[in-house]
Amino acid sequence: MNDYLGDVAALARKDLALELRARDTLPAMVLFVLSTLVVFHFALPRDAGDEAAYGLLWVAIVFTALLGLSRAWVPESRDGAIDALVLATRDRSAIWVAKTLAALAFLAVAELVALPAFALLFAPLDAAAVAGAALASIGLCVVGSLAAALASAGRGREVVLPLLVLPLSIPLVVGGVGASISPQAGDYLLFLGVYDAVFAILSWASFEYVITE
């Protein structure tokens, strides 16, 4: 178990270090989400309620996550490092855990900017909304990093990845929006938790089959 966590830590640290050096994905995600929010202001009619805005926040988050995820496996595919990882790790699911954690870290940073900006520009966010954002982000990264691995198996991965993630993200959007606007936010948070658990287990168990031949 310690070995497994050690592997995850080493891999996650590698992903974070790579992003800190290249500094291309994270600034792009932050700028993307801010730009999208501004575009949404112009996309909303004058008398649209707060509730419409929450929906658009979630659209922005999903697409920002997709931006980050599309770059998740690039370092591995560049010089074939994925082969070396596949050979070196005892349990390949550690690779998935590390990628998910790294993707989550980047998405969290983007949201640390996006959520306050949203509250400033559109409508306030309460604790339930933020909790919803956290849980839904976990779900996005969980299925997203697996979907990114699925997409990397073939051609046209940049196109295939959004197609795979979007249907899977619909429950997350429902959960996130519901947590923001519904009086019964607890139901939605519970639902998000269940989604995260179910798909985390499924992704964790199936990663080995996706990454190997």
Binding site: D3, G6, D7, A10, L11, K14, A17, L18, R21, A22, P75, R78, D79, G80, A81, D83, A84, L85, V86, L87, A88, T89, R90, E213
Partner: protein
């Protein structure tokens, strides 16, 4: 240690490796020769366990953690330093006394001075040497080397020559090469691909 019977590998409709049977015993040095496109790389990937045969049986009786692989591509992270790359793989392989081993390999292959440089700024020859270090890091019992001399500079080639001599007595080697003369003195068996 390695037993192959009638193995075949197809990509789409094309058979790259066809009806191959061979055996490699522990401690042997097998040389794989053949023209470009004859399936050398695919065969070595099969032996390394990176891919599975479409048909036939291939048994490699060594644990993945005791196997070292050197490919055409460096299999390294471009934006990490030489040291960071080896440290990462050292951790993943759970190499005992990792720091010392990494340091020793870097020195042996003349990369010590460049250890804090990113791989993207190293010459192709240095990168290949680093890739070799990665393959040797965990003292593998089976080494699979895909045209190891191709990207090496002259100095690196000499280092590899010396290394292969000591490796030949310690581990089992499967080497594919364009230039059989270099490895022939060491090899105990030969597999020619059509």
């Amino acid at each position: 240690m390695i037993r192959a019977e009638g193995i075949e590998k197809r990509f789409g409709g094309r058979a790259v490796v066809r009806g191959l049977s061979f055996a490699v015993s522990r401690g042997e040095v097998m040389l794989v020769t053949g023209a470009n496109g004859s399936g050398k790389t695919t065969l070595l990937r099969l032996v390394a366990g990176l891919t599975t045969p479409t048909r036939g049986t291939l048994a490699v009786e060594v644990d993945r953690s005791r196997l070292g692989y050197l490919a055409h591509e460096p299999l390294l992270y471009r934006e990490l330093t030489a040291l960071e790359n080896l440290d990462l793989f050292g951790r993943l392989y759970h190499v005992p006394e990792r720091r010392e081993r990494v340091g020793m390999l870097l020195e042996r292959f003349g990369i010590w001075d460049a250890r804090s440089e990113r791989v993207s700024s190293l010459s192709r020859g240095m990168v290949q040497r680093l890739a070799l270090c990665r393959a040797l890091l965990h003292e593998p019992e089976l080494l699979v080397l895909d045209e190891p001399f191709t990207a090496l500079d002259e100095e690196g080639a000499e280092l590899l020559d010396a290394e292969l001599v000591s490796l030949a007595s310690a581990a089992t080697l499967v080497i594919s090469t364009h230039d059989p003369d270099r490895v022939t003195p060491l090899s105990t068996s030969r597999l020619a691909l059509a």
